[in-house]
Symmetry: C2
Subunit: 677 residues, 2 copies
């Protein structure tokens, strides 16, 4: 056994013996310990900070003496004076190993640090971005052995960082010579790795050492809104998040009306492409301003979206997506230049677009898969991403199925008489007393319930303006629990229900949720409102149920609700309506904007890109439009909660009144088929 | 031994036995015979035409019966009626092998056909272009097994053509779906192979079968002129050639004045970049019009140029090339999009730029290397590409050296009192009677000598307007041979020489070459003219001599004169002037525009690109500016032919008069050093 000092790195546990005088960074590199460095050990970037531990370490079998490392040297002194070194820290490239020592690598000194996520069941993010910075010292040109400046830079990257086969973007050639000379033959290169050919590309050069940040954007391009997260590509931190209405809305609220617009108007697809790209650029300018950074430092971007948005963003006419067999122009992931998509970020910024799963199940669904990892789940998980379309995934580590179901925009408050987007003033929570049949509610922007003191003052500024998506779900579910609406979806009359809040409204009835007096419109839930929600939730349920059929199961172990809507929905109320399959309520969780999270994962970890590309190929795609059982499930699921499925867990938790308001008139739809309620 | 029929292909000599009924194309493919096909054997492209031979073939040991192949079938009948099949030809995909047969594959049916070059010593061109066409039948989309149209196209290319890892340019996605449907799921794809990653890229799609041509451009971007050859990428044929003055001339006649312009004027480099790219586009429009083709069918392009033009064309400031150590931004070959260089050809057209050899020896010199292949020569060859700079290469298959020498523009007629570009009216050939000292000459645009009958009428239209580069070389050499000018370059007086054509001209004398009367200017050769040519030829010789020193040789086996100027120069006169080393005159040949030819080779054969990239790395670069002996050689070479070198072969062929017109005045430069004359 060698007499060289023993070095033990934590948290990795990697250990080895090194000759006296070996710098800690050198030892770390030789052991494959994840210790960052931009300057390559020249003592100028300070990214290789470590914390030596002293004293007894029975676990490791070593005692660390106070003089285990060399004394602070001039480089560390200077750095400390200039920027301040955290007490107890050393620069790994300066501190030399003299005796046995235990060295801790703090998370901020790790290249592949973990990015913390709040939810335990979600996939971890390990930092491994496509863009990284490398400081190099380049040989000066030699007339007697002529070679291009670029070729010497590439040689330096190979020699000093062991990075092979580096290429340069054309624009690099324009800035190369001045940068090298300004930096006295020392430059920091931003390299992008992870094109299809996996050759690193020089994207940018800074004269001398650049130890600032570079950024990436994770973008969820929805039919209605575009949401972007601006991330620091070194720390993984989200430095700003922002959203914007999709400017394509003026061409059509929902996807099919945009496809129609493209079909009916020559140049219409291009108009919509321009609109969404313009909107994207406006959003990027806004988010960079919010974060106070130069947009030119955004060097990578990841985009997820449904298939129609995918095509329109890429400039592909979505015509084929409007009709069977719903053929995508391309389903594979795309590695592009942001500039090729008309985006003004760094001139060499890359754009990665996740693969699509099928003609109706897009890159957004793939991003949900990446975030929620059903393919890695031990138990059987149903993942529902509720938007204008619902993308549904069901599976576990053995098998994953996916489909899309056309829920329409009712869940977003559209097609609802008092419906509105989730904004201050919108009713978002509803409770109805089963005895009095009177409601109380909360509106967005106010923490008080409507029957609490001070409510009127608290909402004075916003007023009560309508009902948002989660509000209408709760209202109808509460009406069903209070016996105001029957299993077929019919609202009873004042007499049938026993409350004057049920008022005649044409040939049916409406329920008055709020009457603010003569000056403001009454907010009611109408029978057509219930019909719209019935259609939407029946589509959603039928899709989920179809996947359960395909998998040969009647139950799921857990349900994940994704999407902004999923974050606000009450699982109990969703189940009362029969939106989602019967399941213990504590097994229904919200994943928030899982598509956006998936985009962020792909932005921060380039290995995840390859992974999701492979996973998507293994997902079994089900096309609801041509499945005969989908129609049957849909009809059954029109009832509240369902005319065929037993929902035993739900029935155990709540008592659904056995009311029937069908008096034989024309509105008895659903009653005919109702087998139980 | 099998009883299957024996098939022998000529000219390859490949042979094999195949079951009765095997199509000829199938047999060819299995044997690796070079037999073309775009449609993959579907009988629609007619590219696989073969000529069966019948009768006795003792050489091959077979007798071919009249019924060795199946009868003409309906496909061949239809093709013959529609387009006419050359008598004796069959379609290889239709004709089936029934008995032993000898099949000739005519050159036009070979993919890798040879392109004929006129000169025996030059490198052959084997067709292997980067862009090729492939017809495929693509699976229709299936809702139950969804996949993108692109992914199915890529699958078809793999299955039907065994082409792997195909990628598509972004713009292909825009045209993909309509093309597939218009062609009823049959398309012809243009694939580009030979990017750095060697993955084929889909550049263009035609619905159904496209059996027209696609084109490429080989461009020699000179400081003075841009010359382009438009080539058919299937046949290799040059369908049009055209040239244009380099529009950068307005920023400076020679390279260094353009570098100065960039240094003195902010934005000057960009102005020159724009100018040359605009000129290029004008030239491409012109050449496409001449050939009567759609410029959008130009899918590949190759560019060669000197380092300053290289940088200016790429948009790189040439500042560093104006001063030691003459560092190139990049010396490696570049694979680019033509669109990235501002060129409007096919939107996906590629641009390949040959590697540069050194800061003064550019991609044009590399192209000369490719064309003239000194690295493959058994004997020691000196290659001189004469332009504003002379690029000089010396070597054989063991070792090749290269340098550049600043000859200046005198060889192009600039800096000469009566000098002009080579255009009708310019004197291009000169003879002087040693006895009478009277000249006769020929002008461009007229086949008669000036002393022949009808000359005056023949040149009436153009007149006699000046002397071009080759004319001034001949005039001075003839003056030297006739004893009108001495070894130091001094013109004698009328008395010294014995002709009134020697007239006083300031402090020296001039020789009257042509006196057209009072109405037109006299054309004379002045002593400053001789001085300019002396400087130019001394630079050229000194460069060549320096390389000979480095190689330790005093002689070369042969000399190749490249460049347009080299094509017109008289080897004897060049040697009398001491422009080129002493060498048997029959070993001095002209290679024409070898740089342009090299560009054409790289255009037509993608393997040649990799070859020249490797060759260039092996060439030893000599920087004349820092070689002390260059100055010495230059001074010696100022004399006519040389004040230090013996030129024994020349002296054996011609008698150089031992005259000396130095009367001790101020103009005796060179006489002082003259050791022999």
């Amino acid at each position: 056994m060698s007499n060289d000092p023993l070095v033990i790195f934590t948290p990795s546990g990697k250990r080895g013996r090194f000759p006296v005088g070996t710098p800690v960074l050198t030892a770390a590199r030789q052991l494959g310990v994840d210790l960052d460095s931009v300057c390559g050990g020249r003592g100028i970037c300070s990214k290789c900070q470590v914390t030596p531990s002293y004293g007894e370490f029975p676990k490791h079998g070593v005692t660390v003496a106070a003089d285990a490392l060399s004394d602070w040297n001039a480089v560390e002194e200077r750095y400390d004076q200039k920027r301040g070194l955290t007490p107890g820290r050393r620069l790994g490239c300066q501190a030399q190993i003299l005796k046995d020592v235990v060295i801790d690598v703090p998370p901020e000194s790790q290249v592949h640090k973990q990015v913390v996520r709040k939810r335990a069941e979600a996939r971890d993010i390990t930092m491994d971005p496509s863009v990284r910075l490398f400081y190099v010292e380049v040989d000066e040109p030699d007339m007697h052995d002529p070679s291009g400046d670029l070729e010497r830079l590439i040689r330096a990257l190979k020699k000093q960082w062991n990075i092979k086969d580096v290429k340069a973007d054309l624009h690099i050639l324009h800035a190369l010579q001045p940068s090298l000379r300004k930096g006295a033959w020392k430059v920091t290169a931003a390299l992008h790795t992870g094109e299809d050919d996996d050759r690193p590309r020089i994207m940018h050069l800074w004269p001398g050492l650049y130890d600032g940040a570079v950024y990436g954007l994770a973008v969820d391009l929805g039919s209605t809104t575009i949401a972007a997260h601006l991330c620091d590509l070194r720390s993984g931190e989200v430095v700003a998040s922002s959203g914007l209405m999709n400017p394509q809305i003026r061409f059509g609220e929902d996807l099919m009306s945009r496809v129609s617009y493209a079909m009916m108007n020559p140049g219409g697809a291009q108009e919509m492409t321009d609109a969404v790209r313009d909107g994207m650029n406006a959003l990027f300018t806004q988010i960079a301003a919010e974060a106070g950074i130069d947009k030119g430092l955004v060097m990578d971007s990841v985009f997820v979206m449904n298939p129609v948005m995918h095509h329109l963003f890429l400039g592909i006419d979505p015509y084929e997506l409007g009709q069977a067999p719903f053929a995508l122009a391309t389903s594979d992931a795309l590695h592009l230049r942001a500039a090729d998509l008309g985006l003004s970020l760094h001139p060499a910024a890359r754009a990665y677009i996740l693969p699509c799963i099928a003609g109706h199940v897009g890159a957004d669904a793939a991003a949900v898969t990446l975030s929620e990892a059903p393919d890695k789940s031990d138990d059987l998980v149903l993942i529902v991403d509720v938007g204008t379309n619902a993308e549904i995934q069901l599976g576990n580590k053995t098998r994953v199925l996916a489909c899309s179901s056309p829920t329409g925009p009712a869940f977003e408050g559209a097609q609802i008489s008092a419906g509105q987007r989730a904004a201050p003033g919108a009713i978002e929570r509803v409770e109805i007393d089963p005895a009095s049949k009177d409601p109380r509610f909360r509106v967005i922007g106010c923490d008080l319930w409507s029957d609490e003191d001070g409510f009127a003052q608290a909402i004075a500024a916003t007023g009560i303006t309508g009902i948002c998506g989660s509000g209408i779900i709760e209202a109808i579910a509460e009406m069903r629990l209070a016996g105001i609406v029957d299993a077929s979806g019919l609202i009873g009359s004042a007499e049938q229900v026993g409350t004057p809040r049920c008022i005649p409204d044409g040939r049916t009835h409406s329920y008055v949720l709020w009457d603010g007096g003569a000056d403001v419109p009454r907010i009611t839930v109408t029978n057509p409102d219930i019909r719209a929600i019935q259609m939407a939730k029946a589509a959603l349920y039928a899709g989920a149920r179809l996947l359960m059929d395909k998998l040969g199961t009647d139950t799921v172990d857990r349900i994940v609700l994704a999407g902004a809507f999923g974050a606000h929905i009450s699982p109990k109320h969703a189940m009362v309506l029969g939106m989602i399959p019967d399941c213990p309520l504590d097994k229904v969780t919200s994943a928030g904007n899982a598509a956006g999270t998936g985009a962020r994962i792909a932005l921060l970890n380039r290995t995840a890109r390859g992974e999701i590309e492979e996973t998507v190929l293994r997902i079994e795609k089900i096309e609801t439009a041509v499945e005969p059982r989908f129609q049957e499930h849909f009809v059954n699921a029109s009832a509240l909660p369902n005319s065929a499925e037993p929902f035993p867990i739900l029935n155990n938790a709540v008592a659904l009144p056995q009311v029937n308001f069908n008096t034989g008139g024309g509105e008895g739809r659903g009653g005919r088929r109702r087998r139980r309620s």
